[in-house]
Amino acid sequence: MSGTQVLEQPAERQMIEVSIVDIDVHPSPRSPDELRSYVPDPWRTTNWSNEVFNAIGSPVYEAPNKAQRRDSYSPVGGPPCSDPVFSAKQLFGEAGVDYGILIPLTVRPTANPAHEAAVCAATNMWLKDTWLSKYNKHGRYYGALRVSSRDTDLAVREIEKWAGDEHFIEVMLNPYTDTPAGQSRYHPIYELVSRLGLPIVLHANRSPGMRLLSPVGFSSYFFEHHSLYSMMYADHLVSLVFEGVFEKFPNLKVTLVEGGFSWVVPLAWRMDKLWEEIGSEVPNVKRRPSEYIRDHVRLSTQPIEEPPNRRDLVDLWDLMDPGQLLMFATDYPHWDYDAPREIGRFPREARQRILRDNALDWYNLPSTRPDVPLA
């Protein structure tokens, strides 16, 4: 080295105000092998098909456009949302999202709960290594921790393993279960996440076999299945409320993602009426169901409901305030993606809360972020 070199202090990072939080982004590994390398043995070495990692594609119901935004394939190859550079361009650049909450749909429920838990564990390690660190120099990604909803002990162990991690800000339960979400089987999970301050998120995660069954039989078409997502979320929601879960765990928060939202209003009318008139069946329920929903539940806006008369979407909300209950989601890179402009359907005073404030509060996220270049 010649002469004296003055080392410059790095300039103070400019902070910018967060304006859009997207609570539903689905990253993928570049290949099934990338994820498989994280799966603990014996599950890695035994000859399981890569289908166990594919919870989007389904031999039963095929979503339009193969379930993906057809313009979300990176020029460098790989599945949609596997190339962090290209995804950042679409999500942060074109859509203008500030924070993306990553919900990896890489765990197809399997017959064996231990196997499912192993794939969850692998998914969490993979997400932490890649999208939550290597790809997260800008600090704009947070993630949902995957745990098996079929074995409470295994779920609790996985949550404990990651407790205190700064990036996992909620815990996902696969809603395709054989037990409604309010029942006591899940209570150890709720006890733990309440203590840790982590919301539970339910996100549709198509499962093969009996769990695709509706109460009236198997549907023929994907459109039936997709239209009925709301029903599955409603099943879990009424269970959570009427089992008294929110009395038992007063800090529990539940996020319902990708199940639509307008259904919650007439459902709450019905629940309130039953509780007010003949509440003796459910003495654990101390307050009006709609109040528990208001205090403990948030719903994603995506897939946005599109009544022909836009006003109908707003007029529905006399019982609840959409500006309090809803959080914006794109569902990037999936086919039923919503751009932030869809929030223009809501009254002006609700928009900022839906796009930003509600998620910042719910997940306790910083309201400003460093202005770090993406590339």
Binding site: P64, N65, R70, D71, D336, A339, R341
Partner: protein, 117 residues
């Protein structure tokens, strides 16, 4: 209406498309078999980049309940976001008679493709 150069005919092979910028407006120009089409790249449903979608056909019902016919193969553009379908030739939505995408004339001259916008 002004004529804008898309490029030489030999650079747009059958089955391919080119999305160009015409005075700030994105226009997709398609060559499907021997025909050319030009449409706005903005889907009227939710603003998706329509011209990056798949070329497809659609289904109509036959005589019996589960009789389905696959028709208009190669004549329909499906939006890459929400899979809305539009006829390449007219811009008319397949499913919603009120929805239409602007279409533009394509002119071939001296080995070049032009679009009139």
């Amino acid at each position: 209406m002004k004529r804008h150069l898309v490029g030489p005919v030999e650079e747009l092979l059958p089955g391919n498309r080119s999305v160009i910028d015409v005075e700030g407006r994105k226009v997709g120009v398609f060559r499907i078999e021997s025909r050319y089409y030009a449409l706005s790249n903005v889907c009227p449903h939710a603003g998706g980049p329509l011209c990056f979608g798949d070329i497809t056909g659609t289904t109509v019902v036959g005589e019996e309940h589960y009789d389905l016919e696959w028709v208009d193969s190669g004549k329909i553009l499906r939006c890459p976001w929400h899979a809305w379908e539009f006829y390449l030739a007219t811009g008319q939505s397949v499913g919603d008679s009120r929805m239409k995408v602007p279409t533009y004339n394509v002119v071939l001259e001296d080995g070049n493709i032009y679009v009139e916008v």
